[in-house]
Amino acid sequence: MQKYDIVVVGGGPGGTLAAKTAAEKGMKVLVIERGREIGDKIVSGAIVLPKMFRDFPFTRTMNLPRARIPRTGYFGFFKPPPSLEVAYYSIVSMDPDSQEYPTQCVYMKEFVGFLADAAKEAGAEFRMATLVSDVLRKNGKITGVITDKGDEIQSDIVIAADGVLSLIARKAGLRKKWDPWGVVNIASLTFSAPEDKIDEEGIGGGVYSIMGLGANYHCVFKDGFHIGGFGFPACTLGRRVQARRGVTAEYLKFLEPPLIQAMLKRLEAKPVEFSMHPLTWFDEMPKEIYTDGLMLVGDAAGLPEPFLASGIYEAMYSGRLAAEVAAEAVEKGDTSKGFLKKYYDVLEVSPVGQQFVGGKQIRAMFDLVLTHPDGRKLVDLMRSISMFLFWGWAGTIAPASVTLPLMITTLLDKVPVLAKVAGLYLPVAAPSFSEPLSRLTNELVAGVMRSAMTKGGV
């Protein structure tokens, strides 16, 4: 019988951060990954934001060979099919040199490879090409895992970082499966393109997302790019089976508008890989994410946030936190559900959990854009919030840090949720940079909050 302090199931961003953290705390850690290599089972198209560099200092030195720092941002909304006209479109040039830690578009294989190397360096062991098929139990408590090769591995704590379909969550009885009304299935194409063509695109190259009713996004690497999308508007699997339509046909519609076609042509783009992957896009943070001897992290815990549905930072944050709680539990000899509740409690008030407050209304904004009389202003606002998330608070974005709260104030009477958006998203981004402007913005945001309270908007 093999015995570890902590077994981590899954070698993605959540699992690797859990392993690194626990190993640094002196724990004996094993990561079990079903792919032959790190990243085999992860779809590309990741955009890592300044807040990751802010909260995970070790990532500031990462130098991924095929990552790209975007210099041009596109933000647009399409009208629903069949029109597919571009309802709103803007380009923002960025000067990443003015950023301390600018946003990067990364291949997950390279990025998670970097995180896994950090975990190995800290002393974590990895077992590859191994599927965990069940959990071990003793007196109702989870005490380890069983692999598909029949190995029984004991551990004081299991951290399940095994993705959105988490087999461990099911085997542990935490849930049967996610509600399909909260899950989107993303179709994506990865294209290869000559590096110099991408460099020429826009100002110094780089494209960011065309968000919008279709929640379509672009992610540009050094030698290619990725376009992902999941349909009109923000179409969950629940909506799909109700309307009886699949995603591929709608995805193809995204590629039809002239501006996309022109971009594909300019870049001499060649499709190299198609993929499908599910993503939770919940408006509330799931509660059933721990039990005796077990914690779920990242996508397994349903943590992608309700605005952009981004989940990498959330996986890393929850993975690290779970490992900290696990190490404390092992040292104290108490791995009960009662003790592990600490993981949930701290996560709930962390930047990850706080993003879910007001999540229902944040999600509703996507539907309001084309129907609300102030839809255009909402688009401006969502664009500004995205810009902050993507590029922080410095450089050419800085003036917007003053206008943004004013925009919110103007819209507050009609869309009260904005007070929550302001209160939740902006301070999350703000501490990245210790600039006078970010402090000023925080004060303005606080002013918006106060004004919202007096009007009964919150």
């Binding site: 992860i42 599927l131 959105v164 194409l189 890989e273």
Partner: protein
């Protein structure tokens, strides 16, 4: 630029280590033949025959392991596990 994404196109754009054993099945006792799985499977791996869902024989070669079929199955008739370790879909540009 013409991009069609027919089934044949998708097959050209994916890499799979064919699983050495079955890992996905429909429990026909529970299946109501509602067809939800067939709607969401972008690789057309499901068909409804005689009021029951059936999985294509070659699903081990063409499945993305996205689990959409399993998520939308109301009577929980789809048993979705995973291919054995080291097998199944590989995202080369992951």
């Amino acid at each position: 630029m013409e991009i069609n994404l027919t089934l044949a196109d998708k097959k050209k754009l994916m890499t799979v280590e064919k699983a050495s054993k079955d890992w996905l099945k429909v429990n026909t006792d529970l299946c109501t033949g509602c067809g939800n799985c067939a709607i969401v499977c972008e690789m057309n791996l499901f068909s409804i025959r005689g009021g029951k869902a059936s999985i294509s024989k070659d699903y081990r070669e063409w499945c993305y392991e996205c689990g959409a079929c399993y998520l939308v199955c109301e009577p929980d008739a789809i048993e979705f596990n995973y291919p054995p370790g080291g097998e199944g879909v590989v995202f080369v540009y992951g």
